[in-house]
């Protein structure tokens, strides 16, 4: 039943996304709400989120295939498959954001090696090959372990670097005081791992094999790991906000205030802090809750929503502060605005990508033999 609901959700979300995809591909960028001042919007935030989810899922897969933690034996393939379906969502999301997406080949054939963006395009392309290759190797029964382990080492290091690189992509911009901190590339791999763990928590809760007696312990351990990572995230957030507010650099303080009390207050307080951090921590530490897979799975989704909001809260407020006083009113026109809320088309594309990734994951579970669907039973039955 749960799987049918999720199939239904995925299909409806993808249908809703068709409007956005059609609009973007055949009409253009006019219906987006980002512009020349808030120059990166929802699609870039979702690129950060999905890319982090993919690299985080790969990190989780190493528990099985690299570190060989007995408790997580057999779970790595789900994590790898999750990494595989979320990475294209990230790349499509950032691709939609390009003014000339037909020229993306130039990043491969005529790149600027010193550009973090070019490095990320190359990095994520190679990473997708590593994920695909890892999936291929683990799907083959006779693959020698050292070969899998060797590739997992490469993938693990890449997962850290590409997720940290995305932080650096923002952090190198000295023009945005709130991004320009060494902490940013350091916290992104942690955020990625946290989303990977939360997704795994949801996957195992919803689709874990019921004949696996270790499942409850897996969920228990992943719940604790999620809480710990949420605490680490909260510590990073505290360090970031308190340092910025204390030092009092105007552009930095303005961006933080924009996030806390400005146009994005609800995304911060309700989505990121309330639903994405406090509520999950409460649910996950309640005694015996790990025995309720539906609750735990839903809580994992809440954590993911919180991290998606956190990514948006890194991107939008920093761009919503004028670089120079008076710039906001100096010249008016479409897309010359420091206030930003994603347009219907932007939401549509993002919802469509969530739907497509969900459908792809479910279809993989049902039709890819190596994912062991024959043993899998819905926990709700």
């Amino acid at each position: 039943m749960l799987k049918k609901i999720l199939y239904g959700f995925g299909a409806v979300a993808l249908l809703l996304g068709l409007y956005g995809f059609y609009n973007r591909l055949f009409i253009g960028e006019r219906d987006v709400n980002y512009g020349s001042y808030v120059n990166w919007g929802l699609w870039v935030a979702m690129y950060l989120f999905f890319a982090g989810l993919s690299s985080g899922s790969y990190m989780v897969a190493t528990l099985d295939y690299l570190f060989e933690v007995p408790l997580f034996k057999g779970t790595g393939k789900y994590a790898l498959w999750a990494a595989m379906v979320t990475l294209p969502a990230a790349l499509v999301s950032i691709g939609m954001d390009l003014g000339h997406m037909e020229r993306i080949w130039k990043v491969y054939l005529q790149p600027n090696p010193s550009s973090l963006l070019a490095q990320m395009v190359w990095g994520y392309t190679l990473f997708s090959i590593v994920i695909l290759h890892s999936l291929w190797l683990v799907s083959q029964a006779n693959t020698p372990k050292p070969i899998i382990k060797g590739l997992m080492v490469v993938g693990f290091v890449m997962a850290i670097f590409v997720s940290g690189g995305v932080g650096a992509l923002l952090g190198v911009n000295a023009s945005r005081a709130v991004w320009h901190v060494g902490l940013l590339p350091a916290q992104f791999p942690i955020f990625s791992l946290a989303t990977g763990v939360a997704l795994m928590l949801t996957i195992l809760s919803f689709f874990g094999t019921t004949d696996d007696t270790r499942r409850l312990r897996q969920v228990r351990v992943l719940s604790i790991a999620t809480v710990v990572l949420l605490l680490v995230k909260t510590y990073f957030l505290w360090a970031d906000l308190s340092m910025s507010l204390y030092s009092g650099v105007p552009q930095n303080v303005d961006a933080i205030n924009e996030m806390l009390y400005g146009q994005y207050w609800w995304a911060f307080w309700i989505l990121q802090v309330g639903l994405g951090t406090i509520l999950p921590m409460v649910v996950l530490v309640l005694p015996g809750m790990y025995k309720k897979p539906l609750w735990i799975g839903a809580t994992g989704i809440l954590v993911l929503i919180g991290f998606a909001a956190a990514r948006a809260n890194i991107v939008f407020p920093a761009l919503a502060i004028p670089e120079l006083e008076g710039l906001a009113t100096a010249f008016t026109g479409p897309h010359l605005d420091f206030e930003y809320f994603p347009s219907l088309m932007e939401w549509s594309v993002t919802i469509g990508l969530v739907g497509a990734a969900t459908l792809a994951f479910l279809l993989g579970l049902d039709f890819l033999p190596f994912l062991g669907t024959q043993k899998q039973t819905e926990v709700t039955k």
Binding site: D97, V121, L327
Partner: protein, 309 residues
Amino acid sequence: MTDSGEVRDVTRRNFLRGLAGAAGATIAIAALEDLAANPDKALASYEAQIALAAKQAGLSTTTGQLDILERMHQELARAIVKPASDRRWVMVIDLRKCVGCHACTIACVAENKLPPGVVYRPVLEEETGDFPNVKRQFIPRPCMQCDNPPCVPVCPVEATYKNEDGVVVVDYEQCIGCRACLAACPYGARTSDFGYTYIEDTIPKSEGLIVGREAADDYERAANYEYGKAWSREDEDKSPRGNARKCHFCLHRVKVGELPACVTTCIGRATMFGDAKDSDSLVSEMIAQPNVMRLKEEMGTEPRVYYLV
């Protein structure tokens, strides 16, 4: 008595006003007659009178001196024949002379046929102080053409770079439209072309409301000549639509000995342009002044736009 006194007073005042008006009109008519009869002599005479009046009032005047526009033209002619590496284009904006007319912004829009949402040179307005000590300042903000431009290294395809003249340019056919350069610019000096036109997107759609609408539409879609190349807006998908765009010091004009559009249009002669490697140039003189500053100098971007404050 009071009433009659006021009446008398008003009458006297009105009489004097009438007399002054009549005298002024007579002088004006005489001046016009002079001008018609012997324009050169008349103008010289008036200029001399203006210069004298200005001198008596302690004001400076350009009369009798080379206008700075003419001077900059001559300096430009000297500079463009030099090798590119021997010249350094800079812009100097005298904020004391800027009156906030926005003529430079409009000249730039017209010269480069900028579509809605794209602006190269807005004029920022800043009001500071408390009544009665209030100051309003206008700050034209072109691209700073930084010598250490943060927008260049972030471009994933080297579509933006400093050309041989040291001006930061955008290769429209190389740009993928990622807007990383927009995020990197500390001055907000880049805008993205989202493909709008004024005729289609900013005025009422009803037919017959606007005379010359079709001609204006044709004009708007006709090519501009940024970077010395024709960029038409006929095609919905072609550059510069979808690209990052920015001020380029009107390189296409400079190349043929014309000053940037914003410089020639400035009614207060507040914007100056020239070769800073020419020690005799106006801009060299200006940037040697003690009251010169650059925006966000602490960021180490080394802007080539200087402000006199």
